[in-house]
Structure formats: structure tokens, C-alpha cells
Amino acid sequence: MQKKFITYCLLFFLPVVVVLVGFEYTTRNLPTTYAKIGALSENKKDKIEIMFLGSSQIQGGINIKYIDIPAINFASGSQHHREDFAIFKQTKDRYPELKYVVFELSYAHLEIPHNDKTFWKNAVYLKYYGVNAYERNTYFKDKLIYISNPDLFSRQLYNFYISKPVKNQFTLNEYGFNELNDTGSFKVLNYDTSKIKKNNFSIRTKELPETFKYNTFFFENMIEEATSSGLKVIIATIPTYTTYNNARNPNILRRRDSVLNKVKQTYKNVSIFNLEDDTINFKVTDFKNENHLNPKGAEKLTKMFNIFLKQEVLDD
């Protein structure tokens, strides 16, 4: 009876295991940004001089192609300072030529709670970057990509293998940047400023003083770690559209700016690249939505950053 039961179980679960293995295999073969960046990190590790970290704003706002020195952009959607710090600490020694690190400090960065240790992208970091952001020992299961976010990867698998790919979703340059993906609410609204003015968007306005305290302390630790490693730190903020800027909570903004000022005065090796309110260089057609640049805006921003890098930092 026991043997019969175990045989039944094996027969029953075999297809489940096969399907899961199939999903995992095909997911790993998707041409994702992570895979590209992982490969770049491995192939150019002896040359990389500058590392970008941050959230989707830096990910979509910096196209490494326009940076004159070898660079890598680890920024990724929903990535917060906890993950940034883990990636930075665990990769910096791989790059012997590393001189600069860019941390993001957007308007609400310090009042958004960090992701917890079970953040799904931890699996991606471990698999593609060899970075352990779990803050514990890792096991085989921690590297499984598909089950880290079945919803997202199922959609990607469907888009890539079955349906017609969502326009240019998988067209990435060698740095993992998608130069063709300009789809966003602004394009849908035909870049019509009167319609954009009326467009509903989400912006964090809730003040979280305790989170601010913790995040600021954490952020200063990141800077301390980077500067004590002999690196120059650049704190970047990415242009956001006027409607977004007008909707910001002034208290949150003031607190963030006070941290920027404090950091600038405290640390010698820190520069600030703040283009958040730049409405002269960045027009409506440079944005994907209220707080993300499109590839055209990214090209503009990266070129400006490149000049900044030469003038402000390389001159030191």
C-alpha cells in the first residue's frame, strides 16, 4: 500500500516537476536586462570605472552607451537602497578600475520603506549578479528565477514565446538598455500637455518620519562605505515632469534636500547631479510618464551626465 501510494505521488507530481523545470529553463533563456547586465559585469569587469545604482528612474534614465568611460548600470525597478548597498558591497571588488559610484536619491526615496529580505528580485541578483541580498545563507531554491515572480515571468514567457512580443520589449542593447521602448502614458496621450495636466498618476505624499530616519542613516552608511573604499560618490536625481514636481509634498522634498546638503558638506568625495527640476533641457517628449524618462530623454540625460562627469569629477 505504501509503495502504491508513493508510486501514485511520483506519477502525479512528475508532470508538475517537468512543467516547473520547463518554465525555469525557458525563463532563464529570456533576453532580460538582468542577463545582459550579468554578462556585461563578467565580460568587462577589468574595465568598468563607474557603477550606477538605483530604481527604475536611473534604469530608464541612463543609457550607458553615451558614457565615455566603461560603465555598468545595476539600477532596476523597485530597487531600493537596501539592494543597492548589497550589490555595491558585493561587486565593487570585482572591478579593479572602479572609481565612481552613482547612488540615486529621488524626491521620496528616503520616505519609502526598504524592500524586505524576501524581495523577489533577490533571486535575480543571486542568479545573474552573484549578489546575495537575502542577508542569510542561500540555497538552491534561492536561485530559481521563475518561482521568484511567476506572475511577471509567465507574462514575459507568454509575450516572448507565444504572443507577438509587446513592441520591442526584448530589444536590449549590449548594456541592457531598451532604446526602443518609449511606451508610456505620455505617448498614449500623444504628448498633449493639456491632457497630461489632467492625467491621474500616483505620487508618494505620505510623510514617514521614522522611515526617513532609518533610510537616511542607511544612506549615509552607503556613502561612508563607498568613500572609505576610495571611490567618488555621485548622488543623482532624475528629471521629473512639471505636473509631478508640482504635486510633491514640500516637507518630504525639504527633508530630502537637507540630506543632500548635509552629505555635500560632510563628504569631500561626494558630488550631486540634481536635474529633478530641469524644465529647460527636458521637454514633454522626453518623458515616458510623470517620473520616468523615455529613451530620447535618457540619451539627453546621459550625455549631460557625461559632461558633468568630465567637468565636475574628472577635474578634481
Binding site: 502525479f12 508538475v16 518561482i147
Partner: protein, 477 residues
């Protein structure tokens, strides 16, 4: 090691194969294996609390033997008090100390929330409230001569630490579970199948329903002041389903796992949202806890009274407040318990019509189920607001916003069509309401291909649509 984790799946397979690999009717080695596995399972969370678990078990084991062997009433009572004081003391130190000290000191300060006055700040051992209640009931039952004290330490240690129900129940009575460790277990094919089915159903409830619904609840309850009445009502209703699927899902996995090892655990939930009254709700929700408080708190209080409405209400308020407090050292839980007590006491108010005794509960049984379900669900949902809110003020503020009919300009389902999982759950449970769980004895109504298709569909939902992984809510209690 959460039940919905890869780790637990691996652990279960290994223990299961070793357990039956020892052969049927090998009670002692099987018990020893279960004990080892249970201590390993508990130690994975925090090995430091294994000592506490062992100490609680040993104290109750020896206290019960002494209670049974002592002839003098004073001695018997003394040993009972030793057991109770230890268990309640452990609960107080780990769970309630900070709360009481904070509130006591707060009485003498202008700003009680400015500081915490804990002399030490300890983490609460996982499942503390569950296993201490289990061992306390054992000592009391031995004292009452309802059961015999266990002579076998191994069997008693297994009873206290049995891993399927160790950290979140069901809270088992010694008279139901302990004898199962004393008799030989033989492999039962049907029982094993039922075990796997119940585990599957429990995982569906937890991973697909509770964790997806949690996204809505967490988002709205994180800043309730940003949402209108409809959104708050929606989140509060969904919170009921979140906590129900979270906890009953856990109970299903626990009961199913126990079945795999040849054990029978008590039913803990019986479709609580079909209750006609709040009184009935407590006969369908966390049944083992309700029974515990009925037998050891409510019953003894009214035992020596004339059992009239007044004394029953006093006993009810004490029991429900303690049930609230059992969930955690927070005023919101106490308010949750008191709210339930108020509604139940109103439902029980006796009145006479044409010389016949009536109360609201009897009246509710005479009107259509759909109407009574709306009545009881509204009250239960309101009490759940206290359960979920961060503090009392927050709870009242949410209730006020709901009652003020503030427009929900930003109302959205948030999880979109996945809200359909709740409907799927309700349909499945309502149409199979006379069964232990929807997949129970499925072979009686479905052929094998249909059954396997159903299983694979549920597995597909679990793999494809899991919500963000949430800790089991009741682990914290």
C-alpha cells in the same frame, strides 16, 4: 519553515519517508522520529526557544503525574497552580510584559507613547500561545480527573510538540491527541490521499486567496486616510477573507499533514461566513480556541452561579476579552474581543412573545440565510477593523470614514480580476458545505481523470498566481 515553503515540502517528504520506512506498528521509533522532526521544525525558527518548549513540557508532565498521584487536595491544587503559573508566567513574560508595563507607566506620564518602558524587549516565541494553552488544558484535565496523566515522557513530548499543529494549532486536547501517540499507526491509503488533498486545498487558500487579497488590504490599510468609504469597506471585507484563508488554510495543511502520519486533528473552521449570528460565528471560527475558553473560562465562571443572563454575560465579557488578549498584547485585540462580547450579549437578550421565551439568535434562525449572513458578516467585518488597525484611534477613524460616505475617487479593485479567487473559494465551499473541505472524498463524485484535472488546475493556480509571500498571520500569536 513556513508550510507554504519549498523547505517545508522537502522536510515533509523526508520525515514521511523515514516515518513509514520504519514500518507500521513501530510506535516508539515513530514517536521518537516525530519528536526529533518536531524539535528540528521548531528549532529552525529559533533554536533558543527549544529550551522553553522542553521546559514547559517537562513541568506539565511532572506536575500532571504529581496531581494524579497526590491524595491530598491541597497538594493536587498546588501542582496544578505550579503548571498554570509556569504557563501563564511564560506567556506574560514573553507576550504581555511590555504591554502591561508600558500602559502602567503610561498612566503617570503626560505622553505615554513617547517612550517604551520595557526593561527588556524580547521576541515572542513562535506558537507560544498555542502550545501553552495545550499543555495547560492537559494539567487542568488531569486535575479534574477527565484524563489520566501520561506515564510516557516520549508520548507527552510528542503531544506538546507535534509539528503539524505546534506553531498555529489547532489547539488539541490531550484526550483527543495523546491517545493517538499511544497506539500503533498503520498506513492507510485513503487517509493519505485525503491528507494530500487537504494540504492542496489549504495551500490554495493561503497562497492564492489570502496572499493576493493581502495586497489590497495592506495597500489600503497603510494609509486609510487616503481612501473613501467604499475602498475602506472593500478592504475590510477582504481582510476577513484574508485572515480566514490564511488561518484556515494553515489549519487545513496542519490537519492534512497529520493525516499523512496517521493522526486526526480537530476541525478548526466551518465556513464562518455562513454564520447566521455572531454567536454562531464563534462555533465556526477557530473552533478549538472557542472550545478551550468555553471549557476552562466561561464554563467554570457560570458553574457556581444561577446561570441567568447577567452571569452569562459577565462570563462572556471575561472570556471574549481574554480571547482578544490571547491574540496579542494590543488594545485593538482587546477591543476586538469586547466588540464581539457586546454583539453576542445583545443577541442573547431574552424577551417574551406571547409567553414564549425568545432571543435574537432564535429570531435570526427564522429569516432567510442570505439576510442573516449579511447581518453577521457586517458585524464581524466591523470587529475585524479593530483586529487589523494599527491602534484604537485608527480603527475608529476607519469606521467613521466608512460611515461618513466619503466618496471613493480612487477606488479600484487593485488586484483586478484576481478578486475572482475569493468568489471561487466561496462557491467551492458553499457548494460542498456539508463536507470537511471541498476536495473531501472527491472520488465519490468524480472519475480519476476529472479529479486529477482538478488537482492540476489548483496546482497551476498556486504556481501561476501566488500573492506576495506573507507570513501566516496567526504565527505571531
Amino acid at each position: 519553515m513556513l508550510f507554504n515553503s519549498f523547505d517545508f515540502g522537502l522536510f515533509l517528504v523526508i520525515v514521511y519517508l523515514l516515518y513509514w520506512g520504519l514500518g507500521s506498528k513501530r510506535r516508539t521509533p515513530q514517536n521518537f522520529l516525530l519528536l526529533t522532526a518536531s524539535y528540528f521544525f521548531y528549532g529552525i525558527w529559533d533554536w533558543r526557544f527549544l529550551g522553553l518548549l522542553l521546559a514547559s513540557s517537562l513541568i506539565d508532565y511532572f506536575a500532571a503525574i504529581k496531581i494524579e498521584s497526590s491524595s491530598s487536595k491541597v497538594a493536587r491544587k498546588s501542582y496544578l497552580w505550579l503548571s498554570l503559573l509556569w504557563n501563564l508566567g511564560v506567556l506574560f513574560v514573553f507576550k504581555y510584559y511590555g504591554f502591561f508595563v508600558d500602559n502602567f507607566v503610561g498612566l503617570f506620564t503626560d505622553n505615554p507613547t513617547a517612550n517604551h518602558y520595557y526593561f527588556w524587549n524580547v521576541i515572542i516565541p513562535v506558537g507560544l500561545s498555542f502550545y501553552t494553552f495545550q499543555t495547560m488544558s492537559y494539567s487542568i484535565d488531569v486535575y479534574r480527573k477527565n484524563i489520566k496523566a501520561s506515564k510516557s515522557l516520549l508520548e507527552f513530548l510528542c503531544f506538546v510538540s507535534f509539528f503539524p499543529q505546534l506553531v498555529a494549532g489547532p489547539i488539541e486536547r490531550a484526550r483527543a491527541l495523546l491517545p493517538q501517540f499511544k497506539k500503533d499507526r498503520t498506513f492507510d491509503f485513503q487517509n493519505s490521499k485525503e491528507g494530500l488533498r487537504q494540504i492542496l486545498w489549504g495551500l490554495f487558500k493561503k497562497i492564492v486567496v489570502a496572499d493576493n487579497v493581502a495586497v489590497v488590504v495592506n495597500a489600503i490599510y497603510a494609509s486609510p486616510e487616503d481612501y473613501g468609504s467604499l475602498s475602506l469597506l472593500y478592504a475590510s471585507a477582504l481582510f476577513f477573507f484574508q485572515i480566514y484563508c490564511d488561518f484556515s488554510g494553515y489549519s487545513d495543511v496542519a490537519i492534512g499533514t497529520a493525516k499523512l502520519f496517521g493522526f486526526k486533528l480537530s476541525k478548526n473552521f466551518n465556513i464562518p461566513y455562513l454564520s447566521r449570528s455572531v454567536s454562531e460565528f464563534w462555533q465556526r471560527w477557530h473552533i478549538t480556541l472557542t472550545k478551550w475558553f468555553t471549557d476552562y473560562v466561561y464554563g467554570p465562571i457560570i458553574k457556581n452561579t444561577n446561570r441567568n443572563y447577567f452571569w452569562k454575560t459577565i462570563a462572556l465579557f471575561i472570556s471574549m476579552t481574554l480571547i482578544g488578549l490571547w491574540h496579542g498584547a494590543k488594545w485593538t485585540f482587546i477591543a476586538f474581543g469586547i466588540f464581539q462580547a457586546i454583539t453576542i450579549s445583545i443577541e442573547r437578550i431574552p424577551f417574551k412573545i406571547k409567553g414564549k421565551n425568545f432571543n435574537l439568535i432564535m429570531f435570526l434562525t427564522k429569516i432567510p440565510l442570505a439576510l442573516t449572513v449579511i447581518y453577521s458578516f457586517a458585524l464581524i467585518m466591523t470587529s475585524c477593523i479593530f483586529f487589523r488597525a494599527h491602534d484604537i484611534q485608527g480603527a475608529f477613524s476607519i469606521i467613521k470614514r466608512i460611515g461618513s460616505f466619503i466618496p471613493s475617487e480612487n477606488f479600484s479593485l487593485i488586484i483586478g480580476w484576481k478578486i475572482g479567487f475569493v468568489i471561487l473559494l466561496i462557491l467551492a465551499e458553499v457548494f460542498t458545505r456539508f463536507k470537511a473541505y471541498p476536495l473531501f472524498q472527491l472520488e465519490k463524485i468524480c472519475s480519476k481523470p476529472v479529479r486529477w484535472t482538478i488537482y492540476y488546475c489548483i496546482i497551476l493556480l498556486i504556481i501561476r498566481f501566488p500573492g506576495p509571500k506573507e507570513q501566516f498571520i496567526y504565527f505571531q500569536f
